[in-house]
C-alpha cells in the first residue's frame, strides 16, 4: 500500500550545541526526510579559545597548563607533545628513567581515554550501565595520577627534558594491582557488551569507511586501524622507548562502528602489556653500576625557565588515543614560539561525518558520532 506523499519539504533539525552525552559543544544541522538523513552539517567553533594565539605569547613552561585543556580526557598526550617539540628542536635527550615514566603515564592516559569514550558511546546507544563501570576504573586511574602528579586530571607533569617529579614510593605496586584488576574489568565489558544482540544491531554495519577512503580523508588512530590499515605511530616512528617493549597493533578489517569499538577495547587490553613489562624491568633493580648512573637516576635535565626555541620548523606527532596528534612548531630564537599549530585528530576525523550519515537513519547519527570519538576541546582549540 502506498502511503500518500503529502510531505514535500525536508525538515531541518538542529542538534544543538549542548548534548546530553559528553561530546562537548558541537552543533549538527541535520536535514531529514522522515527518519532518513539527507545531509548533516557540523558547525564547530563553540569552544574556540584561541590556544594557538595564546601559545605565541607564552613560554613553554607557561603554556603547559593550557595544553591539558585541549584534549581533557587524555591529558598526558597533549603534554607529551608540547615538550617533545622543543626537545627535538634543542636536541635534548631525555634520561631513560624519565622516558619510562612518560610511557607509563601515556599508556595509563590512553586507557583512561578509551574508558571515557566507551561510557558515553554506550549511553548514546542506550545502555546506561557501562557508564558507571568506566567511572569506577577511571577513578582508580585518577588516584594513581594524583599520587604521582598532584592533580587528578589536569596534571602539569611533563617538562622539557623529562618529568617534573619522581614517582612516589609504592606507586609501582599500586599500578600493577590496577593492571590486574583492570583485566577483570575488560573481561566484564566484553561479556556485557561485545556479543550483546542489541548492541550489535545498533552498531554492526553502521558507518562503514573503506581503507582508501580513510586514507584520503586523513583519518588516523583507531579509525584508520578499524578500516584495515595497520598504521600506528608508536611502531612507525619509534619515539620514546616504545621499541623496547613488546606489543602488537590492534586492527580490524570491516570499518564499521563495531570494528572501531573492537579496536579500542582490544587496544586497552594491549596497553597494559607494555607497561607491565616496563615496570617490572625498571624496578627490579639489581645493585649494578649501570642502574646508578645518569640514565636511571635522574628524572629530567633541567633547562632554564627561559628556554629559547631556535629558528627552525618542526612537526612532531604522537599517537593519541583519538588519532595522530601533531604540533607544527616554528621557533624564532626567542622564548615565545612564532607559530604553534595544533593538529588535532578530532578535527580531521570529524570531517567524515557528513559523508557517513547520508542514507542512515536519525538514530545512527549518534552511533557514528560516538564511534568517531571526538573531544571538542581539541577540535576547536
Amino acid at each position: 500500500m502506498i502511503a500518500p506523499t503529502t510531505r514535500k519539504d525536508l525538515m531541518i533539525v538542529n542538534m544543538g550545541p549542548h548534548h546530553p552525552s559528553m561530546h562537548g559543544v558541537l552543533r549538527l544541522i541535520v536535514t531529514l526526510d522522515g527518519e532518513d538523513v539527507i545531509d548533516c552539517e557540523p558547525i564547530l567553533g563553540y569552544l574556540h579559545r584561541g590556544m594557538e594565539k595564546i601559545a605565541e605569547n607564552r613560554t613553554i613552561i607557561q603554556y603547559l597548563p593550557y595544553v591539558t585543556r585541549w584534549d581533557y580526557l587524555a591529558t598526558m598526550f597533549t603534554e607529551a607533545i608540547t615538550v617533545n617539540g622543543p626537545e627535538r628542536l634543542g636536541n635534548i635527550q631525555v634520561p631513560k628513567r624519565a622516558s619510562y615514566i612518560r610511557v607509563i603515564m601515556l599508556e595509563l592516559s590512553r586507557i583512561a581515554s578509551h574508558l571515557l569514550w566507551l561510557g558515553p558511546f554506550m549511553a548514546d546507544i542506550g545502555a546506561q550501565t557501562p557508564f558507571f563501570y568506566i567511572l569506577r576504573e577511571r577513578e582508580l586511574i585518577y588516584d594513581l595520577f594524583e599520587a604521582a602528579t598532584g592533580m587528578r586530571m589536569m596534571h602539569n607533569y611533563f617538562r622539557i627534558g623529562g618529568v617534573a617529579a619522581d614517582l612516589p614510593h609504592g606507586w609501582i605496586d599500586k599500578c600493577l594491582d590496577f593492571c590486574d584488576y583492570f583485566l577483570t574489568g575488560v573481561d566484564e565489558y566484553q561479556k556485557l557488551i561485545t556479543r550483546n544482540p542489541i548492541f550489535l544491531e545498533r552498531v554492526e554495519g553502521v558507518g562503514i569507511i573503506g581503507s582508501e577512503e580513510a586514507l584520503n580523508w586523513g583519518l588516523s588512530g583507531p579509525m584508520l586501524r578499524a578500516s584495515g590499515i595497520k598504521w600506528d605511530l608508536r611502531k612507525v616512528d619509534r619515539y620514546e622507548c616504545y621499541d623496547e617493549l613488546d606489543w602488537e597493533i590492534q586492527w580490524q578489517k570491516e570499518g564499521d562502528s563495531l570494528a572501531r569499538y573492537l579496536v579500542r577495547i582490544s587496544s586497552r587490553r594491549n596497553s597494559r602489556g607494555p607497561y607491565e613489562n616496563l615496570e617490572i624491568r625498571r624496578f627490579n633493580r639489581i645493585k649494578d653500576t649501570e642502574w646508578n648512573d645518569f640514565e636511571y637516576r635522574f628524572i629530567s635535565k633541567k633547562p632554564s625557565p627561559s628556554f629559547e626555541l631556535s629558528k627552525q620548523e618542526l612537526y612532531v606527532r604522537v599517537e593519541a588515543p583519538k588519532g595522530e596528534l601533531g604540533i607544527f612548531l616554528i621557533g624564532d630564537q626567542s622564548v615565545f614560539p612564532w607559530r604553534w599549530k595544533i593538529r588535532p585528530p578530532g578535527f580531521i576525523n570529524l570531517q567524515i561525518l557528513p559523508q557517513l550519515v547520508k542514507r542512515m537513519k536519525l538514530a545512527d547519527i549518534m552511533t557514528i558520532l560516538g564511534s568517531i570519538d571526538i573531544i571538542m576541546g581539541e577540535v576547536d582549540r
Binding site: 567553533g45 605569547n57 628542536l89 590499515i229 627561559s306
Partner: protein, 190 residues
C-alpha cells in the same frame, strides 16, 4: 627517522617551475613552491607511484609581517606507503588566492576554511569557504600578528536586552607580558 626517499626522488623528477627550492633538514624536509602550483604539486605527490602521498595531515598558515608576501601556507603531508613526510610551502599576501586542494585531499576542506578564517588567505573555487572557529559576527582574522591577543571586542550578557552583546573591550589593567630573560629579572617598568 623520516624516509628520505620521496624527497630525493621528487626533487629529481619535478619540473623546476613548480618547485622553487627544496631544503632538507633533520627536522623534516620541505619544498617551496609558487602560488600557482600547489594543486599540481600535491596531485603529483599523491598520485605518482613512487611518492604516493595519500594523507594530508595538516594545512597551516604562518604570518611573517616583515615579508612582502606575508603569509605562508604550509601543507604537511604523509605517505603511509613509504612512511615518509614532506612539507610543501607557498607564500601569499592578503589578496592572493591560492588554489584549493580539496579534490585530491578531501580532508583539506576544513583546513582551508581555517586558514581563511584565521589569516584571510582565500582559495579560488573552494566548495565551502566560511568561518569555522570564530564567533558568528567576528570581524578580522585572529591569527594575524597585528590583531592583539585580547582582541578588540568583548561579549557579555546584557540583561535589559536579554541577549549577548559585543562591545569594545575594556581592560582595567594593562596586559602584562612575562618574557623575562631570566626569572630573577623584572621588567624595568614594573
Amino acid at each position: 627517522m623520516d624516509n628520505q626517499f620521496i624527497f630525493k626522488y621528487s626533487w629529481e623528477i619535478l619540473p623546476k617551475k613548480w618547485v622553487k627550492k627544496m631544503e632538507r633538514s633533520e627536522h623534516g624536509n620541505r619544498s617551496d613552491t609558487n602560488t600557482d602550483y600547489p594543486f599540481q604539486l600535491l596531485c603529483f605527490l599523491k598520485l605518482h607511484t613512487y611518492t604516493r602521498v595519500q594523507v594530508s595531515i595538516d594545512i597551516c598558515g604562518v604570518d611573517y609581517p616583515s615579508r612582502k608576501r606575508r603569509f605562508e601556507v604550509v601543507y604537511n603531508l604523509l605517505s603511509t606507503r613509504y612512511n615518509s613526510r614532506i612539507r610543501v610551502q607557498t607564500s601569499a599576501d592578503e589578496v592572493t588566492r591560492i588554489s584549493p586542494v580539496v579534490s585530491p585531499f578531501p580532508s583539506a576542506g576544513r583546513w582551508e576554511r581555517e586558514v581563511w578564517d584565521m589569516f584571510g588567505v582565500s582559495s579560488i573555487n573552494h566548495p565551502d569557504l566560511r568561518r569555522i572557529s570564530t564567533d558568528y559576527g567576528f570581524e578580522g582574522h585572529p591569527l594575524r600578528k597585528d590583531l592583539p591577543l585580547s582582541g578588540y571586542v568583548e561579549v557579555r550578557y546584557d540583561d535589559p536586552e536579554k541577549r549577548v552583546v559585543s562591545e569594545p573591550i575594556e581592560m582595567t589593567q594593562e596586559f602584562r607580558y612575562f618574557d623575562f630573560a631570566s626569572p630573577w629579572e623584572q621588567r624595568s617598568d614594573g
